[in-house]
Amino acid sequence: MNITLTIDGKKCTGTAGQTILEIAHANGIAIPTLCYMKNLSPWGGCRMCIVEIGGSPKAVPSCATPATDGSTVVTNNDRLTHLRKLTLELLFSERNHVCPICPMNKGDCDLQQQGYKFGIDAIRYPYLYPTFPVDLSGKFLGIDHNRCILCTRCVRTCDEVEGVHTLDIGNRGVKNQIVVDLNTTFAKSTTCTNCGACVSACPTGALFDKNAAFHGPLTKCRQVRTTCTECAVGCGLVVYTKENRIVDVFGDNDSPVNHGHLCARGRYETWAVQRDRITQPLVRKNGKLVPVSWDEALQTIRGETGKLSPQTKGLLVSGKVTNEVAGAIGKLKSRVGHIGMYVADHEASFCGEPAFASDAFQRINDSDAIILLGAEPSRLQGVVAARIRTAVRKRGAKLIILNARTSDLDAYADVVASVVGVERAFWNRVGATLKGTKRPVLLYGPNAMSPVGITAMEKLIQLFENGSGPAVIGLPTTTNALALSGAGVEAVDDVSQWLTGGALRAVYIVATDETDGGAKVLRDREVVGLLKGFNYVVVQAAYNSRLTELAHVVLPALVWSEKRGTITNFEGRELPVSPVLEPHGEARDDKAILESVFA
């Protein structure tokens, strides 16, 4: 139902149930806020967004007050300005807001900006100068309670977006403070996922990214939008850079995939964890890898492998490379006899017939039952795990987890089984849990392709035989495996078998920026011995690893923040990967390297 109200003399329309603030913002009327955050439940705690409603002497928080049809609202007058100033002065007096020593100084702090806006100078209240602790024990983030205004944006984000509810408010009165779990530290927290959403939500410097603190204001950084390539979800990123280095990484609020939310891998691990980067081409001389020029490295490869027939050459690529690299690989088929893609366990059969699950997130959001089969979103696709948690905790969706490994999601599940058999009692229980559900979703990962997984899949299908089946969503482990498989790069089930299968004598491995430097290839123990037996092993990688140590030639590849191209996420969306930084050292693009090696 549409409603119409007058805000500051302007006729504004909205829908019944919308708050005054939502309708005002939608109609271009700015109301100052601090505790309000779009997409979180309203809190009404800071009192900055107060407005007057005709006929009522009270100033009400517009963020928490539903608009009523025909009402008259005033958002700005001398009284409201006076009250807002008092609010700000109380906030400033309550804790130790020392701007010059705060990492959010110079533009990144909403409280400071509001202070400027309202021209706050000397305040009329005595400062309380309380003693509050600082917790720097978190892996990537810290909290300084001295700068907290108790807006609870972090608490609500943690609860409503990440769904773990690690943060809450403890104590009473002026001793109120944000607490981690049952008043422990970030390091000791058993629920915190390090997703960093609380830091993104914090309007002051209370929560901050340790690796970004004091690296300069974000408002002065260059901002580049790109796509996270760590998993197949393909979250949108906003990367803040300064002097060709990353200052911080946040989720892109405009991304149709993650809507601003990220997991620890995308938010921090790609830049805040030190990794051993390869900066120059290396060639093995007298048993040792030594830095050489690109020309020398390419000549060495051509000299050693040029005379080999295509049938003796193999190219093994990471499932993390871009679609553009797949295009380049397609052109090599006449020169390289064996081309394969290495993926996670059981993922090869998962890639057999690439099936993208369009609107997967929408289906998870709308679902009333979620079955996880051989998938581990908590560990591998944190943003999907967050959606599952909120679906269960906020909307009462049923959750059934059939997976060998335990995860934090087990705590929210109705049925958890690490070993699945054919016992009738168990499947009756699963059936009873799913009974009456209207919009079930089945999320399956590569492990669903194991013999046990297939048994479970068959049992599940039987359960749904009489009604409509669940929406089926495949959740690959490897970033671009589905698209690469679709582009004709065949996923390799067993790397040692693949290496011994042909008449291979030289193998070229593209590990690109796999964080383990491609060491995953060595998962089967025989692979190390097999590679040692080859005449020639070339590894194209961004990071040093056990694999690069085995190579005759190592070629430095770009990392996610330097690449340009596209990846296709598990929903089938083709997403742009844009360079954020200049290439490091002499590293080059995967596609360009392949083209010059096989020129």
Partner: protein, 180 residues
């Protein structure tokens, strides 16, 4: 040049780093224009140390010890308009960080435990007694105007002083104010 008598100004330096006075000197050539209108009497940057009767008193720094409080109250008596210059006078700022610790902890940390100190001791003669808590000046005396900033930049000081000389209270907004 007008025949109007010059506005007499005194400045004091309480618990602060002197950065605000440095920033005042950053007015550079504008100082020449300013000194056509004002007369700087006692100040940390002039030779006169006893505060005479003045029109405007300017305070840098927070109240950290008994001497600070005495100087502040004296200036308030001697001036018509009192202006706080910078965040320390206005909020306590960095000197007030010690308010989270006891006075003993602060003294031990400052005089004995500092990494560069050998056989240090807490001074207790010929030094003013420290206050238990560092406080901004408006908690002691009436303040007529404030210039935020750590330190306020020369433009902010220029704006505030010219407004005051024109008989107006400076009004801050996002274009002319900073807290850092």
């Amino acid at each position: 040049m007008s025949d109007k008598p010059k506005v007499k100004v005194a400045t004091v330096w309480l618990g602060g780093c002197a950065g605000c006075h440095m920033s005042f000197l950053d007015l550079d050539e504008r100082l020449i224009d300013l000194f056509k209108l004002i007369e700087l009497t006692s100040s940390p940057i002039s030779d006169l140390k006893e505060i005479p009767v003045v029109d405007v008193g300017i305070v840098e720094g927070a109240v950290c010890n008994e001497e600070n409080e005495h100087v502040l109250r004296t200036l308030r008596k001697q001036c018509k308009v009192l202006v706080s210059l910078g965040d320390c006078a206005m909020t306590g700022n960095v000197p007030a960080l010690r308010n989270q610790k006891t006075l003993d902890e602060t003294l031990v940390r400052g005089y004995i435990e500092t990494e560069s100190t050998h056989a240090g001791e807490v001074p207790n003669e010929n030094v003013p007694v420290l206050c238990k808590k560092v406080r901004p000046i408006q908690e002691f005396v009436k303040v007529d105007a404030s210039i935020p900033g750590c330190p306020p930049d020369a433009d902010a000081i220029w704006y505030a002083l010219t407004e005051l000389l024109a008989g107006r209270k400076p009004v801050w907004n996002p274009t002319n104010v900073r807290y850092d």
